[in-house]
């Protein structure tokens, strides 16, 4: 599943067509969801599937396909210096993080026996983190209203 995750990530950035890129992103998000399953966190995995694959990936895919116009597909080929700089930055980040991890003794830990079930997660959300949940609901509502207001098409022709 790590291969699916990383491969999907590369496809999402390097595919020629933006639509294939969106599908690659969906594949990568699906890979992350299966990694959550492997980590014994089925609730987070189901949430990732519902929200990311079900909402975000489909939203991106529909936007790309509905608003398919010349300007979206146009991709300026980046200057080769930019590409080299990007590859160097990515490899530096990956190597630094990987060696930092491998230098520690993280690999000797095993997964704890009594990992949290969805009951524990639900209890935590509805007690200690209830204010966060409320604020998050407000943020979601505000962002949806903002998105609708931004993308509103004025059919009357008056200045908006």
């Amino acid at each position: 599943m790590a291969v699916v995750t990383v491969g999907g990530a590369i496809v999402s950035l390097e595919a020629k067509e933006l639509v294939y890129g969106a599908i690659g992103l969906a594949g990568s998000l699906f890979g992350v969801a299966t990694l959550f399953f492997l980590l014994n966190a089925p609730y987070v995995a189901a949430f990732q599937l519902a929200v990311y694959i079900g909402a975000v990936a489909v939203l991106i895919l529909f936007t790309v396909m509905l608003v398919r116009q010349e300007g979206w597909a146009k991709e300026v080929r980046p200057k080769s210096t930019t590409t080299v700089a990007g590859v160097i930055a990515a490899v530096a980040v990956i190597l630094a993080l990987t060696f930092a991890v491998l230098a520690t003794d993280l690999s000797r830990y095993t997964i704890v026996a009594n990992t949290a079930t969805y009951v524990d997660v639900g209890r935590l959300i509805s007690t200690g983190y209830a204010p966060v949940l409320e604020v998050l609901a407000l943020v979601l509502a505000a962002s949806i209203v903002g998105a609708l207001a931004l993308s509103r098409v004025d059919r009357e022709g008056d200045a908006s």
Partner: protein, 105 residues
């Protein structure tokens, strides 16, 4: 695929690919993809560390809870970015971020 460092290395790979996308791409949709990849790398780290090294045995659900909130926030952020991209396309006929200089001082 069953030790903590494996998951952290996969997360580092995802994050590195996201950095590469942010540096090289100029298409606004590709930048959105790159940001989503980096958010997912962070989420993966949260859950992995939570399951291997819980804060307390009694309440080891904090990492999962934080990731749930993070996923919801990322969804809101993606909706707003898509709306902004659509509006920018309507104004400029282009979603190349290096061409958007209206706000440049």
């Amino acid at each position: 695929m069953n030790s903590l460092s494996d998951f952290v290395v996969v997360s580092a790979l995802l994050f590195g690919i996201g950095v590469y996308g942010l540096v090289t791409k100029r298409n606004a949709m590709r930048l959105l993809f790159a940001v989503e990849l980096m958010i997912n790398a962070a989420n993966l780290n949260f859950v992995a560390f939570n399951q291997y090294l819980p804060y307390q045995e009694a309440s080891n659900a904090v990492g999962q809870t934080v990731v749930l909130f993070s996923i919801a926030l990322a969804a809101a952020e993606a909706a707003v970015i898509l709306a902004i991209v659509v509006v920018a396309y309507r104004l400029h006929n282009d979603i190349d971020v290096s061409e958007m200089k209206t706000l440049e001082g």
